[in-house]
């Protein structure tokens, strides 16, 4: 409901009525909008963005390594929860980081869109009117010529058109004049650059929403299919559902790492076969810098290591062979690795479970009964293992690492050490109850990563157009040239005033000097051989 005030009849000017609350709000909003889209604000926001990214590189981030974050929690038990509440372990997905870049992008759009509209209008419009006093411009000068005013401007127009200027002639107050402009692409580049940034952000967001990646360790001979249940770990966007995953299965047939003489790793190659579930796979070789690309999905080798193989013979003669498990490399130089083999299901009941934990050395060297590795290649594989019997706690509901035993079970005495030995392939150890454990050999494992990012090509396209826009914006020059003619004071001849305005790289002075030299020469040439003016004006 609104109330309309009756018209006042008093002759005196009414005091200005206080603006309505709505209008006040609109004015306030407009004020803030102008502030937000001002360049100063953009610069401050750029600084904030740079500053906000700093803790993301100084503190461990969950997106990079959850292990490092939990180590930070144990090292700094008081400080870490406080930092965590401030999202400092998830800087790049934190609300305050998002607030900064969203404000920056709103500011950018608010600044660039009006400019784009203006530029679109400017592209069709004629070059602007010449300023009244040309000699006030930073690059300006005068030339005299015996030619008539119109003929002199013809010469200037010709010279400028050859230089690909857009030229317009007008009859100004102070005499015939000419405005010319070129370099519209500079502003186009500027707009392209800024709009590409927006496109890039949208592509990033799309990839985060609909993308996923899963990783898995595969020992030679094993395989997996692309589903979240099979991965050791995975990340997926909020809009991904399990049904969206590309049906693709991969088998690792062979993995090979090669080394230079000084033991620098020179290549990692995995021979795989891939295809839809249940179909005969195609073969491919993938490696570092060389992923498998199929239908917008990619499969990478992100790491490698060794899976020692064991055999277990129970006292009753039951034999389990080819028990292998990846041991994680703890030193990538020598590939000395640690891991655990858990055998909860030997058919002997919950309290007769068996586990091996220890160290694997591809090229073992035993000194003072301690096994170390001296070479990353499997030249003389050896394991140093402890055997445990008891309850592993796998069904206790508390998640535990696949690569180590649950220390709490050992501490509680539910899992006890029953033997220790250094074994080379073919050797075995016998536990007190008669169980025989043999080290039968070693296979290599590869860490594979399956990635799907639908925004990738969008981001690449945006990045390329961003660079093109940037080059146009920084390297092109926008130039305006103005010229005006007036009869020379002494009578006979014309005074030509020329001025330029330049935006962009380089020094405008020498360019202006070159232009006026050329104009002088052209005017001189025209004056010395009178011919019909190419254009009547």
């Amino acid at each position: 409901m609104s109330v309309v005030a009756p018209p006042r009849e008093s002759a005196a000017a009414p005091p200005p009525a206080p603006p309505s609350p709505g209008r006040r709000l609109a004015a306030r909003l407009l004020h803030w909008w102008r502030r937000l889209t001002a360049m100063r604000t953009a610069i401050i926001l750029l600084f904030l963005l740079a500053l906000a990214a700093v803790p993301g590189s100084l503190l461990p981030q969950r997106s990079l390594s959850k292990t490092n974050v939990s180590r930070y929690f144990t090292d700094h038990p008081v400080l870490a929860p406080v930092l965590d509440r401030l999202y400092l372990f998830d800087v790049f997905s934190s609300p305050w980081f998002a607030a900064i870049y969203l404000l920056l992008f709103i500011s950018l759009i608010g600044c660039v869109l009006p400019r784009a509209l203006e530029h679109a209008r400017g592209l069709r419009a004629a070059p602007p009117l010449a300023p009244r006093n040309l000699l006030r411009l930073p690059d300006s000068g005068q030339l005299t010529t015996p030619l008539a005013g119109g003929a002199a401007l013809d010469v200037v127009e010709e010279e400028l058109r050859v230089r690909r200027f857009r030229v317009v002639r007008r009859e100004g107050v102070a005499g015939p004049e000419l405005s010319a402009e070129k370099g519209y692409l500079k502003e186009t580049g500027n707009l392209l650059f800024h709009l590409s940034l927006v496109a890039l952000l949208l592509g990033l967001a799309g990839g985060k929403l609909w993308g996923y990646e899963g990783s898995i360790l595969l020992t030679e001979g094993q395989g997996f299919c692309n589903s979240f249940q099979q991965y050791d770990s995975y990340k997926s966007g909020p809009l991904v559902s399990g049904a969206d995953l590309t049906p693709l299965c991969i088998d690792l047939q062979d993995f090979r790492a090669t080394y230079e003489q000084n033991l620098t790793a020179s290549s990692f190659t995995a021979k795989i076969s891939y295809g839809a579930p249940g179909q005969a796979g195609k073969d491919a070789t993938i490696g570092v810098n060389d992923p498998l690309r199929v239908d917008g999905d990619r499969v990478y080798v992100t790491g490698h290591g060794f899976s020692p193989t064991f055999s277990v013979t129970l006292p009753d003669g039951t034999k389990f062979t080819d028990l292998s498990v990846p041991f994680l490399p703890s030193d990538t130089k020598t590939m000395s690795s640690e891991g655990a083999l858990k055998l909860p299901d030997l058919g002997k009941g919950k309290d007769k479970q068996l586990a091996l934990q220890g160290l694997f050395a591809p090229t073992g060297l035993v000194q003072n009964q301690i096994l170390t590795s001296v070479d990353p290649r499997p030249l003389a594989p050896e394991v140093a293992i402890f055997a445990y019997q008891g309850y592993l706690g796998l069904d206790s509901g508390i998640p535990q690492s696949v690569y180590s035993l649950d220390a709490t079970q050992i501490d509680r005495g539910r899992l006890t050490k029953v033997g220790a030995a250094n074994l080379t392939p073919g050797q075995s150890m016998t536990l007190p109850d008669g169980t025989k454990i043999g080290f039968t050999g070693v296979k290599e494992f590869a860490a594979l990563q399956f990635s799907h990012d639908p925004g990738e090509y969008w981001v690449l396209g945006s990045a390329i157009s961003l660079l093109v826009g940037l080059l146009g914006m920084l390297l092109l020059r926008r130039e305006r040239v103005f010229a005006r003619v007036a009869p020379a004071a002494g009578g006979g001849g014309t005074v030509l005033t020329v001025a330029t305005l330049t935006r962009g790289s380089g020094e405008s002075g020498p360019r202006f000097a070159a232009l006026s030299d050329d104009l002088g020469a052209a005017l001189g040439a025209r004056a010395s051989k009178p011919e019909d003016s190419p254009r009547d004006s």
């Binding site: 590189s57 000068g141 990033l204 000097a513």
Partner: protein, 322 residues
């Protein structure tokens, strides 16, 4: 591929020769400053009339430089150029010794970056004589940087680790080196702009000697322009380096961007230089404030090289340090 030890040794000797030559150049640049006199600026004229080409008044300094100072300046530039040649020799012999592009570890990266910085300075020193007066302030940091690189970052010539065996090494690292080298020069010039403009302000208040050594620096306008032009040149190169790095990361690490510490700092540097380019055309930021932004950019670049490679752990662990 085993590295060729004699070529690798030659490379190391050339490194020492370059440092020695640059040190000589530093002395010569000192002499140029010491024998210089106060610059006299020609009044700005607007040429007019009689078909004479109007000479544009530029802010470039016209120095009435005594011959002795000029001669020292020329010697210094010549020695620097000679040093740059042997410096180039360091890279070439190193590359031949290891049979690969010589930017596979921090020692090689740093050596290449300083070479780009020196060459960028030489280009300006030849084209804009006033810039020669900056020689001391460019070459002294170069000498210090190279001594530091030689002492603390040295790594034997050797084969590349598997992850670096990609043609993207040539694209990504080369552009990063070019960008860094150019930003190095730009940052130093902006720092000298800060010194010079402060001197000018003091001079205006009568608190400084009009004939001081600082008066022999290029004018504040020249310094500002050189800093801006180099940053404008370096920014697209750096942008390209980041994009090329992202493309490489996509095929090497499984994602094109993952906020690895190096990526994060490359992003921070990019944002800071973007802020510099904006600041220089924004009222209220022009001049000293913008120059501070550019100096911050250089600090970020150096931090990215040293801290991220030596202290933090990330995927860019190619420093080759023990």
């Amino acid at each position: 591929m085993t590295p060729d030890p004699s070529l690798a040794a030659l490379s190391n000797q050339l490194f020492s020769v370059s440092v020695a030559l640059y040190s000589v150049a530093v002395v010569a640049f000192c002499a140029q400053l010491a024998f210089g006199r106060r610059p006299v600026r020609t009044p700005e004229l607007v040429a007019a009339g009689n078909g004479a080409a109007p000479t544009a008044p530029t802010a470039a300094d016209v120095l009435s430089e005594p011959a002795r100072s000029r001669r020292w300046g020329l010697i210094a530039v010549a020695v620097t150029a000679l040093g740059a040649l042997t410096h180039l020799g360091v890279m070439v012999t190193r590359g031949l010794a290891a049979d690969r592009l010589p930017w596979g570890n921090m020692y090689e990266f740093g050596t290449a970056v300083t070479l780009v910085g020196v060459v960028a300075f030489l280009v300006f020193a030849v084209r804009v004589p006033a810039v020669r007066h900056l020689g001391l302030f460019v070459m002294a940091p170069v000498v210090l940087a190279m001594v530091g690189i030689g002492l603390f970052l040295y790594a034997e010539a050797g084969p590349l680790v598997a992850a670096l065996r990609s043609s993207w090494l040539a694209v990504h690292v080369t552009s990063a080196i070019l960008g860094f080298g150019i930003f190095f020069l730009s940052g130093i010039v902006s720092a000298m702009y800060l010194v010079r403009s402060r001197y000018d302000a003091k001079l205006a208040e009568g608190q400084a000697q009009p004939d001081g050594v600082l008066s022999r620096l290029p004018s504040a306008a020249t310094l500002d322009r050189v800093a801006h032009r180099t940053a404008v040149f370096g920014f697209p190169i750096w942008t390209f380096a980041v994009i090329a790095g992202a493309i490489w990361a996509e095929s090497a690490w499984g994602r094109f961007w993952g906020w690895d510490p190096k990526e994060t700092w490359a992003f921070i540097a990019w944002v800071v230089y973007a802020a510099y380019l904006h600041a220089r055309t924004t009222a209220g930021w022009r001049g000293r404030a913008a120059a501070w932004v550019n100096v911050t950019g250089l600090v970020v670049m150096v931090f990215n090289l040293l801290y991220v490679n030596m202290v933090s752990t990330g995927l860019h662990s190619y420093a080759g340090l023990k």
